[in-house]
């Protein structure tokens, strides 16, 4: 699992240590959102909150654009992206569909077939 080619399974990223290192600041910011006071501060001014948590402009921009795929590709853990999603009113389905490059409607269609 050391090389990127080896940590993709069926189109999904294996969350390796190397990815965890890459996404550490984003994930740490997301982890902080498990505290209600931090969620409120984040919601009041997302960019300011993220800057105070040490994220750089590129990382902040990905969150502001709700670019879940870019966050995931750059070391975001799916479980931590879901905390950001919760704070900005996106669902698990919206996040998942975005990372897969399909619409939430297409994902709902997949679900129905279950």
């Amino acid at each position: 699992m050391t090389s990127p080619a080896h940590d993709i399974v069926s189109g999904a990223l294996v969350f390796t240590g190397e990815r965890s290192r890459l996404g550490y600041r984003l994930n740490r910011m997301a982890m902080s959102l498990t505290q209600p006071a931090n969620r409120a501060a984040f919601q009041a001014d997302e960019a300011a909150y993220m800057r105070a948590m040490g994220l750089d402009d590129v990382e902040i921009d990905r969150v502001l654009r709700r670019d879940w795929k870019a966050m995931l590709d750059n070391g975001g853990s799916i479980y931590l992206l879901l905390k950001i999603a919760g704070s900005v009113g996106h669902t698990l389905q919206q996040v998942g569909a975005h990372t897969g490059g399909i619409t939430p409607e297409a994902l709902a269609e997949r679900n129905k077939k279950a």
């Binding site: 699992m1 940590d7 399974v9 069926s10 189109g11 999904a12 990223l13 294996v14 969350f15 390796t16 240590g17 965890s20 550490y24 994930n27 740490r28 997301a30 982890m31 959102l33 498990t34 505290q35 209600p36 969620r39 995931l72 853990s77 799916i78 479980y79 931590l80 879901l82 905390k83 919760g86 704070s87 698990l92 996040v95 998942g96 569909a97 990372t99 897969g100 490059g101 399909i102 994902l107 997949r110 679900n111 279950a114």
Partner: protein
């Protein structure tokens, strides 16, 4: 002394918890799931358990990657609910069983397991999504969290051996307890990527079969196989092997249910443990 009186394998998912909270017991989508829990709940109550040992995973709620444990054992008096980022649900904190838990810690460490020992533990949907549907929340819990979210994660074989070690630990316990061991995770699901939303009912059912009949075969499967069949997040199915290991060589099935309410295989299995004596340590 303490005895193992049952084993439960169960999926966990935030959706189970929120469906329960909303009272969707008769909802067409959820009814087959909750009917399963109701049946297993009746069986469980008959076993008169007074302690649950639950092998589950935290989803970056109690632990973060500053220090992420491979195994973490909760030895506190009380296990509070973790806020997962959406606020807390209306659930009581769960009681622990410190004396018994410290005994398990000693036994596992003596058996060459290396858990992080937690006097402060909080529980997320890994435990709290399915447990209210299944069990009396007044029964004390000893939680054992497993890293399945940041690779390297422990092998399927390590989880099976953890179950064997838990069996020895419980059967040599310091107090008269009727213990039910639970393992939870999965079943197949894929939360992200080009195949987001896929599940694999054939694999889920094969897994449920093999868990009963041939756990060694599951223990030998590398992570890649689990992920290719059940999804990168579905790899958490390996935690059921810890429950299975604690059941002894030949448990018997008490109950099984499998449903696919929403793109995730939801499985539920209740086992009557083999009543053979304590096994010698496996080196």
């Amino acid at each position: 002394m303490a005895q193992i009186v049952g084993g439960i394998g169960s999926s966990h998912a935030p959706s189970i918890g929120s469906a329960w909270d909303k009272g969707l017991l008769q909802d067409p989508l959820w009814r087959p799931v909750f009917d399963g829990y109701a049946a297993a709940r009746a069986w469980l109550a008959e076993q008169k358990p007074d302690l649950f040992v639950i092998v589950y995973n935290d989803h970056a709620n109690r632990f973060f990657f500053d220090a992420y444990p491979t195994f973490a054992l909760g030895v506190g008096d009380l296990h509070a609910q973790a806020d997962e980022g959406y606020g807390k649900r209306d659930l009581p904190d769960l009681k622990g069983d410190p004396d018994f838990a410290w005994h398990i810690a000693r036994s596992l460490v003596e058996d060459e397991f290396d858990p992080t020992i937690c006097q402060e533990m909080t529980l997320d949907h890994g435990v709290l999504s399915f447990l209210p549907a299944l069990a009396d929340l007044a029964v004390p819990v000893i939680p054992l969290a497993v890293n399945v979210i940041q690779h390297p994660i422990p092998t399927a074989r390590r989880l099976y051996r953890l179950g064997l070690a838990l069996r020895r630990a419980i059967q040599t316990g310091p107090a008269d307890r009727r213990v039910v061991v639970m393992g939870t995770g999965g079943l197949s699901h894929q939360l992200h990527g080009t195949q987001v939303g896929r599940f694999n009912a054939a694999w889920d059912n094969e897994f449920l079969d093999l868990l009963e009949s041939d756990p060694e075969r599951l223990a030998a499967l590398p992570h890649r196989d689990w992920m290719e069949r059940g999804g990168t997040e579905g790899v958490e199915m390996i935690m059921w092997l810890a429950m299975r290991g604690a059941m002894g060589p030949n448990p018997t099935r008490a109950f099984r249910n499998y449903q696919v309410p929403m793109t995730t295989g939801y499985g539920l299995l209740a086992l009557n443990p083999d009543q053979v004596a304590v096994q010698p340590p496996s080196t």
